[in-house]
C-alpha cells in the first residue's frame, strides 16, 4: 500500500535489533534429556521408514545384530568375523541411528518448547458475548464462534482473534511479541483494528467481532507450525531426498552384487562387512541431518519473532531475487514531519501556515499533527469556525485530505497534482512559482504537499523523510547476494529518485497505486525472478498472495495475515531483509552439509576397500596405514557415526553467512566443506584406528 499518507507501523520496535526484547525464549531445561529419549522412540521402523538413508542403516543393523547372535548365520567362510566384531559393528550402527534421531529430536524439541511457551498464552477465559437484543452473556472463550461480537474492557483478556468494530484501547501484546509497550487498537484503522486472542486490554474498552473459530486462531496456527504438525517437505528437501535415495539405491545394488565378483577374485566378503561397506558408501551424514536442518530453519525464523506458514516459505526466502519494499516504514522512518512552509502565488508564510493548520485540523496522522505543530510554532493558528466544520479523510484515489467549513469554504492539502486538479475544477489557476517550490522540496528528498483554500493555492508544505540508519549498507549486502531491491512509493518521481539514490535501492516506482504493487511483482515473476514483499493492509492482500514470499505485519489486518506466508510479530517491515538472509543460510547449510557428506565418503573407501580386497591386490590403497582390515572397518564406521553429532550444532545454528553471489558461495562451499570433507575423515579415521588398536578392540 503506497499512498501519500502511508500506513504507520505502530508496533515497529525501536533501537538496535540485538537490544530489543523478543518473545521469551523457550526454556531449554530437559531438552537434551527429552531428545535422548526420543532418539530411542524414533528407532520404531514406522518412523525410520520416512528417512530412506537411515532406514537402510536400520536394516543393516538388524543384519549385524542377527550375525552377533549367530556369527555363522550368513557365513560359509571359516574366516568370517567373530561375535565380538559383529557386536561392535552392531553397536556402532545403532549409535549412528541414535545420533541421527537425536539431531532430529533436538530440533523438534526446540520447536515444541516454543509451542509450549505459546500455549501458556492460551489460557481459557470468560468472554462477554453480545446478544442480538443488545444484552451480554458470559461465555467461555471456547464457545465463541466466527462472527460473534464480544466486549472487552480494561484488564480483560481478548478471548479470541478478531477485528475491532468499536472503541479505542491500548492492548498489551507482550504475550506474543515480547514487546512490553502497549499498542493502540481502534475500529476502522487498516493497521490497528486486528486483535489477537491471548493479548490483554490495558485501557478503555473494545467491541470485537470474532474472526476465528476455536482452534483456528493465530496462536493455534503458530503452535501447529512450530510443533511441526503441519510440516511438509519443501521442494528442495524433496529433490535432495530423491538424490539421496538414488545414491542409496545405486550403492545397495553395487554391494548386493559384490559377493559373486569377490568370490571369483578369491576375496570372499562376509555379510557384516558388506553391511559396513554399504553404510560407509551411502550418504548417512546428510541423511541423518536433513530433517534437523529443515526444522532448525523454521525454528530460527520463529526465534526472530516471525511465524512462517511452512518450511517451503522459509526455503523460498533463500531463492529470492527481488525485494519489493514500501518506502515509508521500511526504508524511511514511518513518520514524515513537516519541516517548512513554502508560500506561492504572493501569499505569506503565515497565511500558508494558517490555511495548512485549518486543513489539518481533523488529520490525526503523525504528518497532520506535525503540520499543526509547525503552524502553532509560527503562531499561525486558524481563526476559522472549526467547531461546525467537517473533516475529509485522505484516500488513495483523491490523494488529498482537508476540511469543509459550514459556510461552504473548502480547505485541501495533498499531492501537488491532485491539488492542481482540485483548484482547476473550481475555476482557479495554478501559480507560476508552484512548480519551483515543488521541485525544491522534491530535490531535497522530501514530500511536497500543496495547500489550497477553495480555488487558490497558498503554497507547499515540505514533509521531511528520514532514511533509516544503515539502509545503504543493507542494500549493498543484498546486491552482493544478487538480490535486486525495488522501492514503491506514492511520492513523485523526483522525491522517489532522491530517496532511492540516498538509500541505495536498485530501482523505484514513483506515484505507485496499490495495483502497481501486484503489477511489479507479476512483471518480476515473468522474468523468472522470485519476489518477496511486506504488507499490512487489506489492499496489500492480493500482492502478498502473489509474491513468492509475503510477510504480513502482525499489526495488519486479518486479510493481510491470511494472504501472507509469514507474519512478523514485531511488525517491523525492515525484517524482510533478515528473513531473506535466514532463508539463504538454510539453503547454504543444507548445501554445505551435503557437500561434506558426499566428500567424506572418499576416505571411507580408502579404509574399507583395502580391508575387503587386500588379498586381491588393493592393499596399496591403504593410504592411512590402518592396523588391520577389521580395525579399518570399525574406524570408518565409528567416524561415520561420530560425524553426525559433531555436525549437529552446525545443522541447528546454520553455517556462517556472508553476503555473496551464488557463484562465490558455491566456490567457498566446495573449498571449505568439499575439501574439508575430503581431508577431515582421513585424519579422523586414522586417529580412531590408533585408538581401536591401542584398546585392542579387534
Amino acid at each position: 500500500m503506497t499512498t501519500l499518507q502511508p500506513p504507520i507501523f505502530p508496533r515497529m520496535p525501536r533501537g538496535r535489533r540485538d537490544q530489543r526484547r523478543y518473545t521469551e525464549r523457550p526454556k531449554s531445561d530437559g531438552l537434551l534429556g527429552r531428545a535422548v529419549v526420543q532418539s530411542f522412540v524414533k528407532l520404531d521402523p514406522r518412523l525410520t521408514v520416512r528417512n530412506p538413508v537411515m532406514f537402510v542403516v536400520w536394516c543393516g543393523t538388524l543384519v549385524t545384530l542377527a550375525a552377533t547372535v549367530e556369527p555363522r548365520l550368513f557365513e560359509l567362510s571359516p574366516e568370517a568375523p567373530g561375535r565380538g566384531f559383529n557386536a561392535l559393528l552392531s553397536l556402532i550402527l545403532l549409535a549412528t541411528l541414535l545420533f541421527a534421531n537425536f539431531a532430529e529430536a533436538l530440533a523438534e524439541g526446540r520447536g515444541k518448547a516454543q509451542a509450549d511457551a505459546l500455549r501458556r498464552t492460551q489460557a481459557s477465559t470468560q468472554a462477554r458475548r453480545l446478544l442480538p437484543d443488545g444484552s451480554e452473556s458470559l461465555v467461555d472463550s471456547s464457545a465463541l464462534r466466527r462472527g460473534d461480537q464480544v466486549r472487552v474492557s480494561q484488564g480483560e483478556m481478548v478471548p479470541a482473534d478478531g477485528e475491532v468494530v468499536d472503541g479505542v484501547a491500548a492492548v498489551d501484546e507482550s504475550a506474543i511479541t515480547g514487546e512490553s509497550a502497549p499498542v493502540l487498537k481502534e475500529a476502522g484503522s487498516d493497521v490497528a483494528s486486528s486483535v489477537t486472542g491471548g493479548t490483554r486490554v490495558v485501557s478503555d474498552e473494545l467491541l470485537i467481532r470474532i474472526t476465528a473459530d476455536p482452534g483456528k486462531g493465530f496462536i493455534d496456527r503458530m503452535i501447529a507450525l512450530v510443533e511441526g504438525a503441519e510440516r511438509t517437505k519443501t521442494p528442495n528437501e524433496i529433490a535432495l531426498t530423491v538424490l539421496l535415495a538414488v545414491l542409496t539405491q545405486v550403492f545397495l545394488i553395487a554391494v548386493a552384487t559384490l559377493p559373486p565378483v569377490a568370490a571369483y577374485i578369491g576375496s570372499p566378503t562376509p555379510v557384516v562387512v558388506l553391511v559396513a561397506l554399504l553404510v560407509a558408501l551411502i550418504p548417512t551424514t546428510i541423511g541423518g541431518l536433513l530433517s534437523a536442518i529443515g526444522i532448525a530453519g523454521m525454528d530460527r525464523v520463529a526465534q526472530f519473532n516471525v511465524i512462517a506458514t511452512s518450511g517451503r516459505a522459509v526455503e523460498a526466502c533463500g531463492d529470492i531475487t527481488t525485494l519489493v519494499l514500501d518506502k515509508t516504514g521500511t526504508i524511511t522512518l514511518g513518520n514524515r514531519l513537516a519541516e517548512e512552509f513554502l508560500p506561492v502565488g504572493g501569499h505569506s508564510e503565515r497565511e500558508l501556515a494558517t490555511t495548512a493548520h485549518a486543513a489539518s485540523w481533523f488529520d490525526n496522522t503523525p504528518e497532520g499533527k506535525s503540520i499543526v505543530r509547525l503552524a502553532e510554532k509560527l503562531d499561525a493558528v486558524t481563526t476559522l469556525p472549526m467547531d461546525t466544520a467537517t473533516g475529509l479523510e485522505f484516500s488513495a484515489r483523491t490523494r488529498m485530505s482537508g476540511t469543509d467549513l459550514a459556510d461552504g469554504n473548502e480547505l485541501r492539502k495533498g499531492a501537488v497534482e491532485a491539488i492542481k486538479g482540485f483548484v482547476r475544477s473550481r475555476g482557479g489557476t495554478v501559480p507560476a512559482d508552484l512548480d519551483g517550490a515543488y521541485e525544491r522540496v522534491s530535490r531535497l528528498g522530501g514530500t511536497p504537499l500543496a495547500v489550497c483554500l477553495n480555488a487558490e493555492i497558498h503554497g507547499v508544505i515540505y514533509l521531511k523523510d528520514i532514511i533509516k540508519p544503515g539502509m545503504r549498507e543493507r542494500f549493498d549486502q543484498l546486491r552482493r547476494m544478487g538480490i535486486r531491491s525495488v522501492m514503491l512509493t506514492g511520492d513523485n518521481a523526483i522525491t522517489a529518485g532522491v530517496i532511492a539514490r540516498e538509500a541505495g535501492v536498485d530501482d523505484f516506482i514513483a506515484e505507485a497505486t496499490p495495483e502497481d504493487k501486484i503489477a511489479v511483482i507479476q512483471a518480476e515473476q515473468r522474468l523468472g525472478r522470485l519476489v518477496a514483499m511486506t504488507g499490512d493492509g487489506t489492499n496489500d492482500a492480493p500482492a502478498l498472495a502473489q509474491a513468492n514470499v509475503g510477510v504480513a505485519m502482525n499489526s495488519g489486518t486479518q486479510a493481510a495475515k491470511e494472504a501472507a506466508n509469514m507474519v512478523d510479530l514485531d511488525s517491523d517491515p525492515t525484517k524482510l531483509i533478515d528473513i531473506v538472509t535466514i532463508g539463504k543460510q538454510l539453503l547454504i547449510t543444507r548445501g554445505a552439509l551435503t557437500t561434506f557428506s558426499i566428500a567424506n565418503d572418499v576416505a571411507k573407501y580408502f579404509a574399507i576397500l583395502p580391508a575387503l580386497f587386500g588379498k586381491a591386490g588393493l592393499a596399496p590403497l591403504n593410504l592411512m596405514g590402518l592396523a588391520s582390515p577389521q580395525s579399518a572397518i570399525l574406524s570408518a564406521m565409528v567416524f561415520n557415526a561420530l560425524i553426525i553429532p559433531a555436525l549437529v550444532p552446525l545443522a541447528l545454528k546454520g553455517v556462517a553467512f556472508r553476503p555473496a553471489t551464488a557463484d562465490q558461495l558455491l566456490r567457498r562451499n566446495l573449498l571449505v566443506y568439499g575439501l574439508g570433507g575430503l581431508v577431515v575423515p582421513f585424519i579422523g579415521i586414522k586417529l580412531i584406528d590408533l585408538a581401536v588398536s591401542a584398546l585392542r578392540l579387534v
Binding site: R46, E70, F74, V242, V246, Q249
Partner: protein, 66 residues
C-alpha cells in the same frame, strides 16, 4: 493418493507375506549351505535386499510420501 499413515500401515500386513514367499522361492539357490537355518537366513537376506531396493524405488518416484 494414499495417506502416509495408510502407506505405513499396509506394509505391516503384506511385508511378512512377501518376505516369507520370497524366502521360500529363493531358498533353493542356497541349497548347498551347511544348515537349513543358514539356507533360510541367506534366502531371507536376498529377499529383504530386493524389498529394500523396491522401497527405495518408491521413495525415488514418490518422495513427497516420505
Amino acid at each position: 493418493m494414499a495417506s502416509s499413515s495408510g502407506l505405513l500401515s499396509k506394509p505391516l500386513f503384506w511385508l511378512p507375506l512377501v518376505l516369507a514367499l520370497g524366502t521360500a522361492l529363493a531358498a533353493p539357490l542356497f541349497g548347498s549351505s551347511p544348515s537349513p537355518l543358514q539356507t533360510t537366513a541367506l534366502a531371507l537376506l536376498l529377499t529383504g535386499t530386493v524389498v529394500l531396493s523396491g522401497y527405495l524405488f518408491v521413495v525415488i518416484f514418490q518422495p513427497e510420501r516420505f
